[in-house]
Symmetry: C2
């Protein structure tokens, strides 16, 4: 069967929809941590080194608006604010896990390729200096 | 067992690595189409309405450099240029399919929520006008 493909506006692409929901500046990292369970705001701030209080709060608010995460306040001596994947956000967990696995393998693959390149260029240097040596002896 | 979470630099997040590979301007749409099989350049250009020749070519080149897609030239009366997911790119296919499914459901969910909002505000309007009517009668 021949697949008939119809043009699609970029904003209608469902892969892009998902990418947009999870790809904000700090969102991938936040979701990477939250996929394993709830985290307190302070801890999340420590885990996402480099994110300012303001930006992290914005990113969390966007994820909350999209219905991906839930903010739970527990009153007490000090107010406890905790974030977790919402019930709907849980449906993202398998995608996040696959992405984490794929990304780790991709980085590994790149590192191996870089090492091979280094070895090849070291071997090439060796051959060059050998040729030079032989030329000097003639 | 308590999960011990260590801080991670944003650039080390494996979810971000994957998101970066697939999230370029036109890449999600290109990959959305390519996950179902090879496509000729001209067809890809038609499918990604709005992408300029230059930008589409750049995006394809980046995916090629990352080893995700393969460019195959077949000489003939007119040169045939076809793109497909590489063997490594095929490992992305399950993620792309899940993302497409999730994205479609997310859009649907948003549309349902918007309809419910419309219905609620229509109901609220009705009640307001009923109250107004009753006040007039007093």
């Amino acid at each position: 069967m021949k697949i008939v493909r119809l043009p699609m506006r970029l904003e209608d692409c469902p892969v892009k929809t998902t990418a947009d929901v999870i790809s904000g500046k700090w969102k991938t990292l936040v979701l990477y941590y939250l996929k394993d369970g709830p985290i307190r705001f302070g801890q999340l701030k420590r885990l996402t080194q480099g994110a300012s209080h303001k930006v992290l709060t914005e990113q969390l608010r966007e994820l909350e608006t999209d219905g991906i995460i839930t903010r739970i306040e527990t009153p007490g001596k000090t107010l406890k604010v905790e974030y977790s994947l919402s019930e709907h956000g849980q449906t993202l967990a398998p995608i996040l896990s696959l992405m984490a696995k794929w990304g780790a393998e991709f980085r590994n693959r790149k590192a191996v390729a870089a090492t091979e390149m280094d070895e090849l260029s070291a071997a090439s240097d060796k051959i060059s200096s050998k040729i030079y040596e032989l030329k000097q002896k003639r």
